[in-house]
């Protein structure tokens, strides 16, 4: 518990920033990039929620594999390798992963990992294309990998509600909301 509190205190301590907004190309930029896009947030939290439904070992395999595969997508973006329909892929990730949570789907681990990995490529690519412009790419990379991981963690912690019957309904409801958000994201792209 003490370790948890210490980690929480470190992560959520609000540092005083002078010149707010000027560090727009380093750690803060990378950290807030996933947090400023609802499509990213919805998909990342859905990964955590789905992991909670899938149980062990998926609950930790997914948060371990997602950043790695996302980094592959990021590397493609950095190297200028074009990927078609990136925004649609990100929006579709919210829809598909939201549906998986809503249905409490429990496919084999490799299927879940493949689905999550497929969408991770799109998310990573979107981040990666912005990284070369960063004045401090190292800080940007740390920021966005950390933010993504913390979003997963939020999903997993929220997913812990699945231990109770009521909690399962709540989490599946959250999955339905994420899927709905995915439809809205897709409609916005189409519109």
């Amino acid at each position: 518990m003490r370790v948890l509190l210490t980690v929480a205190a470190i992560l959520f301590a609000a540092p005083a920033f002078a010149h707010t907004g000027e560090d727009a190309s380093g750690f803060m930029s990378g950290f807030f990039h996933p947090l400023f896009g609802w499509d990213h947030i919805a998909a990342m939290i859905a990964v955590g929620l789905w992991g909670a439904f899938l149980g062990r070992p998926a609950i930790y395999v997914l948060p371990i594999t997602f950043p790695l595969v996302m980094a592959v997508g990021g590397a493609l973006g950095i190297l200028g390798v074009a990927l078609p329909h990136v925004e649609a892929g990100i929006a579709a990730s919210a829809l598909v992963l939201g549906i998986c949570v809503m249905l409490a789907a429990r496919p084999p681990l490799w299927v879940a990992a493949l689905a999550v990995g497929f969408f991770a490529i799109f998310h990573g690519h979107a981040h990666g294309t912005e990284l070369p412009e960063a004045a401090n790419p190292f800080g940007y990379a740390i920021g966005f990998v950390m933010a993504t991981g913390l979003l997963h963690l939020s999903g997993i912690l929220f997913g812990a509600l699945t231990r109770s019957a009521t909690g399962r309904v709540v989490v599946r409801g959250a999955g339905a909301l994420i899927a709905l958000a995915g439809i809205v994201f897709l409609a916005e792209i189409g519109g």
Partner: protein
């Protein structure tokens, strides 16, 4: 026991070293600049962290051999001076591999762990290109400080969820290294 006390001993010896004026870093000597070297070399920092996370989870025999191999190879490589110029992608690739090993969390034979630690030390020492004894000693002390402290924390962990946290940290390091590798290849 020795491994548990070593970080403390290294910490004290580092902190006790006098700062020199008129050096590259204002108010600090070459030794202190050496200690701070990982701060200006992100790939080295990532590699040290990942190596510490990985070897800290190995059994005691493998851990002991790895720490000794790393310490000896690093100081030998640093004192030998800049023998070979490495492309910038090499230390980043090293961080990627070590991060992957930490993420996988696989136990390995003691010889393999020691060889990985030795190879890591050799690559880091070549890439550091220390042309001064004070700088070389500083880099060694800084590297040992990071690796031993991470090992010290990792080897004490017993809770299952913290073992998972270590693997996730390894995945994050590998992900960051992969992005930096792409960036260095692009440049």
């Amino acid at each position: 026991m020795i491994l548990r006390r070593l970080p403390l001993v290294v910490s004290f010896s580092v902190l006790a070293f006098p700062a020199r004026a008129h050096d590259a870093l204002d108010g600090a000597g070459l030794f202190v600049n050496g200690i701070l070297h990982p701060v200006v070399e992100p790939a080295h920092l990532l590699a040290f962290l990942a190596l510490g996370l990985w070897i800290g989870r190995q059994d005691r025999d493998a851990l002991r051999r790895a720490v000794i191999a790393f310490a000896v190879a690093l100081i030998a490589g640093l004192l030998a001076g800049p023998l070979a110029a490495l492309p910038p992608a090499v230390p980043i690739a090293l961080a990627l591999i070590l991060g992957g090993l930490a993420a996988g969390g696989w136990p390995a034979p003691a010889r393999v762990v020691a060889m990985v630690a030795l190879a890591s030390a050799a690559l880091i020492s070549f890439d550091s290109a220390a042309d001064d004894w004070g700088l070389a000693l500083g880099i060694w002390a800084g590297a040992m400080l990071i690796v031993l402290n991470v090992v010290n924390i990792t080897m004490r962990i017993e809770a299952a969820w913290l073992h998972i946290a270590i693997r996730i940290a390894g995945a994050w390091i590998a992900a960051i290294a992969l992005l930096l590798l792409a960036l260095s290849l692009r440049a």
